[in-house]
């Protein structure tokens, strides 16, 4: 019966259109969620160790770290100047030195700035984060778990005091908000901005 066939076709088209609209809404929401995640990634507490250079940064003004410390072959510094030599397992508030487990630089594959210390775009950072050949082979849930559990990630929300006694500034979202945004992004299929 021709009417029924047309009806099924129209329904199919309507359903498909609805599905497409939902997923592009999903994509838009996912991208928006990523922009939230990105705002944390490029805040000083995170980006200072995600450099493209031979050195880490420090401070809210992200200047080059004192004492000419360098990356070294594994991002852990060099003999005589290992990160963990000064950065202990926990913050040292009386001297203003931050600390966390296994303090080290993010690998160059995870650099979020260029060699002139300027943050990369959210599109570029997103592409890196979702590139499994560069991100330690993490899928969406893996990324979420990383954001939830990795000590150095969590450190950003408990960064201790500066040498002048003032509390270090926190990322623009709370850790809970950061996780929630990550979850929305992952559930949307980790879409990237264009």
């Amino acid at each position: 019966m021709p009417g029924l066939r047309v009806g099924v076709l129209v329904s199919a088209i309507i359903v498909a259109a609805a599905l497409w609209a939902h997923s592009s809404n999903n994509t838009a929401q996912g991208v928006a969620a990523f922009e939230q995640v990105y705002s944390v990634l490029i805040s000083p507490r995170c980006i200072n160790c995600h450099t493209a250079t031979n050195y880490p940064q420090q401070g809210d003004d992200r200047h080059r770290h004192v004492a000419n410390v360098v990356r070294g072959p594994e991002g852990k510094g060099v003999p005589g100047l290992n990160c963990a030599g000064c950065h202990q397992e926990t913050n040292a508030d009386s001297t203003g030195v931050p600390g966390g487990h296994n303090w080290h630089l993010a690998p160059l594959e995870m650099r979020w700035q260029d060699i002139n210390d300027r943050p990369l775009s959210s599109a570029a950072v997103c592409r890196q984060l979702t590139d499994r050949s560069r991100n330690n082979n993490l899928d969406g849930p893996g990324l979420l778990k990383h954001h939830e559990e990795e000590p150095l990630v969590k450190w950003a929300w408990d960064p201790g005091r500066r040498p002048d006694g003032a509390a270090r500034t926190l990322p623009p979202l709370t850790h809970e908000q950061f996780i929630a945004a990550t979850r929305r992004w992952v559930e949307a299929g980790t879409p990237c901005p264009k």
Binding site: V66, N68, S94, G165
Partner: protein, 723 residues
Amino acid sequence: MALNRRGFLRVSFAAAGGLVVALHFDRTSPAQETGMPRQPAKVYPPDAFVNIRPDGKIAIQVNRLEFGQGVQTALPMVLADEMDADWNNVIGELAPAADVYKDPLFGIQLVGGSGSIAHSYQQYRELGAKTRAMLVAAAADRWKTTADKCRTEASVVHGPNGQSATYAELASDASRKPVPATVRLKNPSEFRLVGKRVKRLDSRPKCDGSLKFGLDLDLPGMKVAVVAHPPVFGARVKNVNDAEARRVDGVREIFEIPLTKGTGVAVVADKYWPAKQARKLLNIEWDLSGVEAADSTELWTRYKRLAQTPGNVALARGDQSALEKVAAENRIVAEYEFPFLAHSPMEPLNTTVRFDGDRAEVWAGSQFQTVDQMAVAEVLGLKPEQVTFHTEMAGGGFGRRAVTDSHVQREAAVIAKRLKGTPVKLVWSREDDVQGGYYRPMHFHHVEIAVGADGFPAAWRHVIVGQSLLMGTPFESMLVKNGVDETATEGTADTLYNIANMHVSVHHPKVNVPVLWWRSVGHTHNAFVMETLIDELAARAKVDPIAYRRKLLKPEAKKLLSTLDLLDKQTAAWRNRLPKGHALGISCHECFGTGVACAVDVSIENKRPKIHRATLAVDCGVAVNPLTIESQFQAGVGFGLTQLMAKGAITLKNGIVEQRNFDGYVPPYIVDAPVAVDVHIVPSAEAPTGCGEPPVPVISPAVVNALARLTGKRYRSLPLVSV
């Protein structure tokens, strides 16, 4: 320090209102007879300098602070050589403050002006020879023979018939012998130590942590003090809330103290850490009224304006209109900027004082013992002879430990006075040091040069702007003439380049920033200006930079000419064969009697100058210890490069120093220093001249001259923020 005139200093005390200390400088030249009685010739009794111990060790008192320059080895070497002492048993000790240890030329006990060897070489030779003569006389007595029949070697006297006696055995008898009035000194061919590469005496204890510096001092019952200084120089405490600070465990006392200018708050505790923590918790309201809030930006504007017109004349030679006679396209106009510099020796400033009412004891790594002793005595209401002043080994100085107002020692004395009977160690943190003033002053130069048809300067008009170091200090009468502080013009007004028509003048603005001599003093900026402009002229004339300097130097510039010759020879193999991306930089400069020529091989790495190699040729007269000299020059250029560091500047904003520590004021690290430095000494029998400061002025212009070849830019504003 630029104390380069002969003379004697007298200490006098004004009667009225207690002790007022003044230093008068009397010229020895008859033309400037002041009518004051001449200082009697100094007598240096050997037993104040040499102590031969029963175990054979020979302790030699060094009349200078040892702060890296190697004098604790070099002067004992000189004495030990004339004495024929066994060098393996010689110990160098830093003499306390006393008349007999005063610099023979300057009449005060000090280290400065690169004068340690220059002024004490002859003195220590005589001391060694006299000691030897007395030992021989004692032996001759013992063996009933005559001195001329005896000979000495390695702390043993040998008699004519096989007799021998060690110096230790003879010491007691020798000390009873009369000190000879005159004595024969060795012929240089007889030297066993002088002229040889003798290793330092203090190496091992500096490598195993056992050597104690002033900061390491620990005395029974000692307390540690820190002082909160005003954020603007000379400001005063308005009120203090110290309730929180007093709650820190180990804090003993907190009280306001006068400073040389303004007031501060002293915190005394059992140890440094609680003192420092307590100071952080002080809530101090400062009275900033009535003191100038110096500001670097404002100062640059002021200095630049002043530099456009001549100041007080330091030199006016030849035709003063020669500049205008040359067409504009043959004139160079150059303006230079030099910021404040902190010395920042590695060992933070410190002094320990114990006041006992009728006497006091001081421990300090001081470059200025006589002056500091007088200052402590004045604070404590004592005579200088009631103050025992120990000279401690110091972790660097560069001029920072020779301050005419003795401000650190005064602070310590004021605190010790309050804690009578208790030794107090005053410690300045690195922040106190970086922010505490006494900097190499800011300078602005305005230079106009007329380039003659022959490529040489036909006229040179030079205006310098910078605070005077010496006005208002006891040294003013010595080195400030007609409104010109010679420590600001040295290196330019007395240039050895043959510039017939030359005019040098200076403005000395008054600025509320304490200033001080920084290793090589006026040469730090004057040599930079001269050597970069000379280089520019050479390039413009298309003449080799060494050849150009040779031609332009006066014939009497013997040391510079000899060093340029030696440099030419020593760099022949590499200087015109540099790899791509590398360039040669040349400079030469004479200061404190020593001529230095420098060649560097520079490339640009990570946007900074990379100095692959520096070759230095030095003419310092007799090279007493060539190893010391080599070290001084290899390392001294590393110090000199402070001027080129991207963050090598102290700046002020609204009266407050903007830098805090080595994160904001960044001196050269290993990556910034030359990778290799080879040093060559011109053989000479002339009287020895100093090597403490001469390495510093040559390196920065040499590097910048190389950079100019690489980039085509002129670098006239320091520090070198970008290349």
